[in-house]
Amino acid sequence: MALPWASSARRIDDEIVLAPDVPAVRIDSVSKVFGHAPHAVHALDAVSLTVQPGEFVCLLGASGCGKSTLLNLLVGLDQPSAGTLEVNGRVTLMFQESALFPWLTVFGNVDLALRLRGIPKGERKAEVERLLEVVHLRGFEKKRPHQLSGGMRQRVALARALAQDADVLLMDEPFGALDAMTRDFLHEELERLVQERHLTVVFVTHNVREAVRLGDRVVLLSSRPGRVTAEFPVDIPRPRRIETPEVGVLSTEISQRLRAEVRRHRTDDIHAD
């Protein structure tokens, strides 16, 4: 990616010559302000976070704390107000709503990702079929997005994201609107894919159990302005299941922390009034 801040970040790497491997994602004191002075919204305030290659990081935080904003900055849809971001390798973002193109079939949606990557026509058909195989959607090539269920649409979106052959996969509450069974299935699929392809993942969710089920590390963001307030390494061996007691224990601990965060906000607001 030709990001304007990438060069300065590389300079930092050169200084720390001994650093053994380059992080996949480095977010350094990033702030984001929307709008101007009287009506400015401080979506992010000096957020710093480093993600190692192959790491699966889950971002948790209350609604409006800037999680989507952070992912948008990472994928280059928006520019930070201050600080530097660095992503090493190709990056893609999977949206909360599948964001499939309604005028294209399932096949066409995945194919477009390959086409925009510059893959020649002759190679694309087999590759699309392979990717649809991965998300268990062979036989649905000719369907259009509106003919699919929410879970199937998210799987097409996942296939489309995989078609970009990205090293870093950013996911913005991708499974938020799905029923439990479909979600469990997609968790398994994602876990398998991440291991197979050595993907780095930043996964935003509201669901604490989902974060613990998937993440190597769970990062808590505070609200307005968004800041990193706590981090929890998840040492539960894989493959995991969302209903196991270990997942439950850690989820409870994180939930309590999250609630304390929200309570702190309420008292803040009361004082501010």
Partner: protein
């Protein structure tokens, strides 16, 4: 649906869920669909003819002002070849004028929707043009092009092009931002973004603009053919004009029926089906309607 024999329990469950999701009503056969879309229209025509006949029988107006339906259709039958020749000339003008309007409207629409300066400069002017009754253009058109084909085409184009341009501008304006962002994430930029994301997303609104443009073109053309007599061209409008000057009531109504039928056919058969096809493809309409 499942290809691997060693599928896990969850895999089996998921494909079970998938097939549940997809179980929809089978589509009706072509003949049945044709009939279900045609009968309300046929009924409407029958009711219309019945009312006409009743009014005729009531003697509300003398038959030289309001002839009976049967006399009009007899007349249509006897002058069929003249009418068809006139209709062919008229349709040729309509297609040329509408074609030019599509080209000009699309280019202007594309430019205006891409540029903020152009949009604030001429965006509202286009809407203003659209509200201008086409008959009001004729004096100027005749000054510019004399009593010629050119004057008629000018008014047709100026009547239809703004609707086409507005359809495209409206479509581009209402492209869901999420889809543009998705396109950006997939690596589409500038022209690629327009070609792969913005243009297809704007297509339904563009087609609505075309449909509206056709209605304007057809109306302007009829006004033009009545007002501007080009020697030697016995178009539908001119036949109407001649019949009027001869006080020939059945002739007048016969031509009106033809004008109406052409307008309805193009609107429903061509644009109606095109719109429905696009809406179904884009998931904008219920799948089984």
């Amino acid at each position: 649906m499942l290809t691997e024999p060693a599928a896990t329990e969850l895999d089996a469950e998921i494909s079970g869920l998938d097939s549940l999701d997809l179980a929809g009503a089978p589509r009706a056969s072509f003949g049945r669909r044709l009939w279900s879309s045609a009968w309300p229209k046929l009924l409407a025509i029958a009711i219309f003819l019945a009312i006409w006949q009743l009014v005729f029988w009531s003697g509300w107006k003398p038959s030289y002002a309001l002839p009976s339906p049967s006399s009009v259709f007899t007349r249509l039958n006897s002058e069929w070849s003249t009418i068809i020749d006139g209709a062919a000339l008229t349709m040729r003008r309509a297609l040329i004028g509408f074609g030019i309007a599509i080209a000009i409207g699309s280019v202007i629409g594309a430019l205006v929707s891409r540029s903020r300066v152009l949009r604030s400069a001429i965006g509202s002017m286009i809407t203003g043009l659209q509200t201008m009754p086409s008959v009001a253009w004729f004096p100027a058109a005749i000054l510019l092009f004399k009593l010629s084909e050119g004057a008629i085409l000018f008014v047709v184009v100026i009547g239809a092009a703004p609707a086409v341009a507005n359809g495209l501008i409206g479509g581009v304006d209402h492209v869901p931002p999420l889809l543009v962002r998705a396109g950006h994430v997939l690596g589409a930029r500038r022209f690629g973004l327009f070609r792969f994301i913005v243009a297809p997303a704007a297509l339904p609104a563009y087609v609505s603009g075309l449909k509206q443009g056709w209605a304007f073109a057809w109306r302007s053309l009829m006004a033009g053919e009545l007002l501007v007599a080009v020697p030697g061209a016995l178009t539908l409008g001119q036949q109407l004009q001649v019949n009027e000057s001869l006080n020939d009531a059945t002739g007048i109504y016969a031509i009106m029926v033809v004008i109406f039928v052409i307008g309805v056919l193009v609107d429903t058969v061509i644009f109606g089906n095109l719109e429905r096809f696009i809406q179904r493809r884009y998931g904008l309409a219920a799948a089984n309607d």
